[in-house]
């Protein structure tokens, strides 16, 4: 998979990327070559278990991998790199026991980015994700609020690379992806029910049993 951008400009460069969860087992992803340039979007699609989330977790440095992988010019997951990578996890357990504001504030503090004050940065991210002030301070199991919280976590502090796992296609999701790309950042998202995301993100990588189809 090639792009117009040279390797030095790319935000993500993967060569022969491989993840094996257990020694001797079939790789969860194998021989993935990938380049994501500034302003680009990439949608990773495939059946459940095809390796979509595994690929995203490798980009974030959450799992061990083989092959070569560079994110923002550095090793994935190191503090210097992670400070500029936004992560919107799937599901709703990641926010268990916390209000949307407390989760997003924690992410903003850990990322230590943004020129605004912390409160203003968090408030803007919550607003960008469509979370009203009246519900931002409540601990909730409402799946829609939690999915919006995931989006807010991903965009708070204007990271250069935004990674979204199974994003819900809210109006705010569309706006956020467009905004990131417009300011020269990149978005990598994974979904097995992509809806309108392919046209929004521009490029699609299809995984079948961990291999690019």
């Amino acid at each position: 998979m090639t792009t117009a951008a040279g390797p030095s400009d790319a935000l993500v460069i993967a060569e022969s990327l491989q993840v094996v969860y257990q020694r001797g087992a079939t790789p969860a992803i194998d021989e993935i070559d990938l380049t994501v340039a500034p302003g680009e979007g990439l949608l990773v699609v495939g059946e459940p278990g095809s390796g979509k989330s595994t690929l995203l977790r490798a980009l974030l440095g959450l799992i061990r991998f083989g092959g070569a992988l560079t994110v923002l010019g550095g090793y994935p997951g190191t503090p210097a790199v992670a400070a500029h990578v936004g992560w919107g996890p799937q599901g709703k357990g990641f926010a268990d026991g916390q209000s949307p504001r407390s989760v997003v504030e924690m992410v903003a503090r850990l990322r230590r980015t943004g020129s605004d004050t912390l409160a203003a940065t968090v408030a803007r991210a919550l607003e960008d994700a469509g979370i009203e002030a009246t519900v931002a301070d409540r601990v909730t199991n409402d799946v829609e609020i939690v999915r919006r919280t995931s989006l807010a976590c991903a965009v708070v502090g204007d990271p250069r690379l935004v990674v979204l796992d199974d994003p819900w296609e809210f109006e705010e999701t569309v706006a956020a992806i467009s905004a990131v790309r417009a300011r020269g950042g990149a978005v990598v998202a994974a979904s097995n029910d992509p809806g309108g995301l392919p046209s929004l993100l521009g490029r699609t990588l299809t995984l079948v049993d961990g291999v690019a189809a």
């Binding site: 969860y21 989330s53 977790r57 974030l60 440095g61 959450l62 799992i63 061990r64 997951g77 190191t78 503090p79 790199v81 992670a82 400070a83 990578v85 992560w87 996890p89 799937q90 599901g91 357990g93 990641f94 926010a95 268990d96 026991g97 916390q98 407390s102 989760v103 924690m106 992410v107 503090r109 850990l110 990322r111 601990v139 976590c153 990674v163």
Partner: protein
């Protein structure tokens, strides 16, 4: 604010709102009040207070330690909560240590609430200020910290119920180590005397306060410290030495290191 301090604060704020934790805290508080009230009506009121209070700290503290340890890592690894923190740049060492420390602080706070309730209750009931009981509470906290950290270390790789069982086994092992060493000291184990001493020099110890040792030896320790007998002959238990306390703290440090290794090595969601 460092990542460590931030994560300690976030975890504590979240855990103090858990229903099970509030339930244990309140149940221990109510039991402490009942022990203080009940002791004023007992004939041997000092012993009744101390035995009852020690039982609250042991049984309630065990539930709190196992619960806090078992939920330290596994659930949040599976749900993606720890992955979110790690992906945002928090060092894995800070993630592991902050979780362990926040749980230890919550355990210390729980034990402190119950101990203050018991001591104030005793004071109000006319039983006087119980300095030895406060020393016992500190000893009990150290033993429970060992249990909590063993459970937490297990929860980096195992589900909460299995981790809690491992933590409970650590608690029982630490108690058995002390009891068997006491039996070996008076030559009650025959050929196994040396084995018990070797185990004592390798395994963690429960911390025995002077108060509970004295009560246990005259069979007044209640459920928290029944008299230790072999073939119906009592075996005297001695209060823990400073060396034993230091040894158990070293074991706590080792278990904390295991938490760190567990989180550093594993894949996160």
């Amino acid at each position: 604010m460092s990542a460590f301090v931030l994560l300690v604060r976030v975890d504590m704020m979240r855990e103090v709102r858990r229903r099970w934790f509030i339930g244990v805290l309140v149940a221990g508080f109510v039991a402490s009040v009942m022990v203080a009230i009940g002791a004023t009506m007992a004939s041997q009121n000092d012993d009744a207070f101390r035995a009852g209070g020690a039982s609250v700290l042991l049984l309630g503290g065990l539930v709190a330690a196992l619960g806090l340890g078992a939920t330290a890592f596994w659930r949040d690894i599976q749900s993606g909560a720890l992955g979110l923190v790690a992906a945002t740049g928090a060092p894995r060492g800070a993630i592991a240590s902050s979780r362990a420390v926040s749980r230890l602080v919550l355990l210390a706070g729980t034990i402190a609430v119950w101990t203050v309730t018991l001591v104030v209750g005793a004071l109000v009931s006319g039983l006087g200020l119980h300095g030895p009981f406060v020393v016992h509470a500190l000893a009990q906290f150290l033993t429970l910290a060992l249990t909590l950290l063993a459970t937490a270390a297990a929860s980096t790789v195992l589900g909460p119920w299995v981790a809690a069982i491992i933590g409970l086994m650590m608690h029982i092992t630490a108690q058995a180590t002390v009891n068997l060493a006491a039996a070996a000291d008076v030559g009650r184990l025959g050929n196994a005397n040396r084995l018990a001493q070797v185990a004592y020099n390798m395994l963690p110890h429960t911390i025995v306060s002077p108060m509970i040792a004295e009560m246990q030896n005259r069979d007044a320790g209640g459920p928290a410290a029944p008299q230790f007998e072999i073939n119906s002959v009592p075996v005297p238990i001695h209060p823990s030495t400073i060396g034993s306390v230091v040894w158990t703290i070293a074991w706590c440090a080792f278990l904390l290191w295991l938490c760190f290794v567990g989180i550093r090595q594993r894949n996160l969601n």
